[in-house]
Amino acid sequence: MDILLMLLWIVILVVVIMLHVAYATYFERKIIGHMQVRLGPMRVGWHGLLQPIADGVKSFFKEDIIPENADRSTFLAAPIICLTAMMTALAVLPFAKGWVLADIDIGLLFIFAMSSLASYGVVLAGWSSNSKYSFLGGMRSMAQVISYEISMGLSLVGVMLLAGSLNLSAIVEAQGDRFLGMYLLPQCIGFFVFFISMLAETNRVPFDLPEAETELVSGYSTEYSGMRYAIFFMAEYIGMMVMASIGTVCFLGGWNGPFPVPFFPPLWFVLKVYLFMFVFIWIRATLPRYRYDQLMGLGWKLLIPLALANIVLTACLKAILA
């Protein structure tokens, strides 16, 4: 019985997340449209509300092309690795008090492990396509993800020190429901490093070098079409959501808000995640792309030293004050 209930929760979560992914693309196109003084999708349904569904159906029925010289098994597996890793990370996210599939003690580390696995999908897609553009995209992604994973992990050590736990629910509980309890203020350096690394980890503008369309056509996903391309797309949006959720849990106090919501406890969590998503999109509409050496310089010479300094500072302050 417990197993059936668990399965039911998993199915509900997957369906909600898939709908979220579909409408996140709509959200993004609409916002970018209005920021560029156009309307965005308008044709399918009222104000284009059915556009994501139409897109989904279209990509589902498109022809699935596999290049002749591709490494077939790896080519087929790459998008699935990407999506599975990202979706597995969802299992440990606490959406509200008790609304979590697996409340494990190493929640934060688990998410890191899964996001580092997702980079395999991208790298293998780049390699197995056997095309120069894909290969360069995969290489770039690999270097970028390795460098920024370090600064991201280090930026969250401050949060772990303050909360004294790696369990995501415990981190939210430790912040309490007051505004000043949020780790945003005591961990402002950590948040700064985390936010920039988050953009780089999810391959978003201004760090979207792995799929820079003006240089690499579409980077690692150049050779993919139809549903397999859509799977990469989904993985990218779920990745954005997972990163936004970590930001919410670790810095913005998770599900806690100014007042409890009676019927839908995750409301504050969802609102905070969408705030992050909005900033993602806002940045995409505003900033130009970084140059590759600047990206590496920023990661290794600025963010990692800053994150290390933040750890030392937090540990010292905690030792003095406690």
Binding site: I106, Y120, M142, I146
Partner: protein, 188 residues
């Protein structure tokens, strides 16, 4: 029962993927097999209630070290640059030596004695969570070995730095020395 089945599955997969990793022809596939192997190692750690080790196993080995291996594989065109001469003249001689080693290892197994039980029983570890127990032991009881390991890693780091810098001084002022032939041959 479930634990035994899980252990059997992990052990089987570790052996199988290990064998595939040394027998597959394409080096990238070999690295992927090692990835599968690391995954199941992490699974074994989970059966031992060592969830921190399991996570670190995936983050460090799968997420960082193997990716670096892939990086090197992509940059080196293996067909031309790697030509290994056989270590022993005859393949059968090698097989006999390997089989002998295996028999030796199996013969040693009965000599295995279970150690004394320490203060960290499974219940005690579960109570304070594995991460905390590991951290406390590491930074109190085993502080000296920990510091020595840290020092060795620091030396290795400095060594890597020195080597990288010397390379750069040799080939002009840091212009990318890679030619355009990157990895075309590797993926064939």
């Amino acid at each position: 029962m479930f634990l035994q089945l899980f252990f059997a599955y992990c052990a089987l997969m570790i052996v199988a993927s290990g064998l595939l990793a040394i027998s597959l022809r394409n080096p990238v596939h070999c690295v992927l097999m090692v990835l599968v192997l690391f995954f199941h190692m992490a699974g074994l750690y989970l059966t031992l209630n060592a969830e921190f080790l399991a996570a670190v196993q995936i983050i460090v080995y799968a997420g960082a070290i193997l990716v670096l291996y892939l990086f090197v594989l992509f940059l080196v065109s293996l067909r031309e640059e790697l030509h290994l001469n056989g270590f022993v003249p005859n393949a059968w001689l090698g097989r006999i030596i390997a089989a002998g080693l295996a028999v030796l290892l199996l013969a040693i197994i009965p000599a295995f004695i279970l150690g004394e039980k320490g203060e960290w029983t499974v219940e005690a570890v579960r109570q304070v969570t594995h991460t905390k127990a590991l951290g406390q032991e590491l930074f109190t009881t085993y502080l000296l070995p920990f510091e020595i390991a840290g020092l060795i890693l620091l030396v290795a780091l400095i060594g890597g730095l020195v080597l990288a810098r010397r390379d750069q001084a040799g080939s002009g002022d840091g212009v990318d020395p890679e030619p355009a032939t990157i990895g075309k041959e590797v993926s064939q």
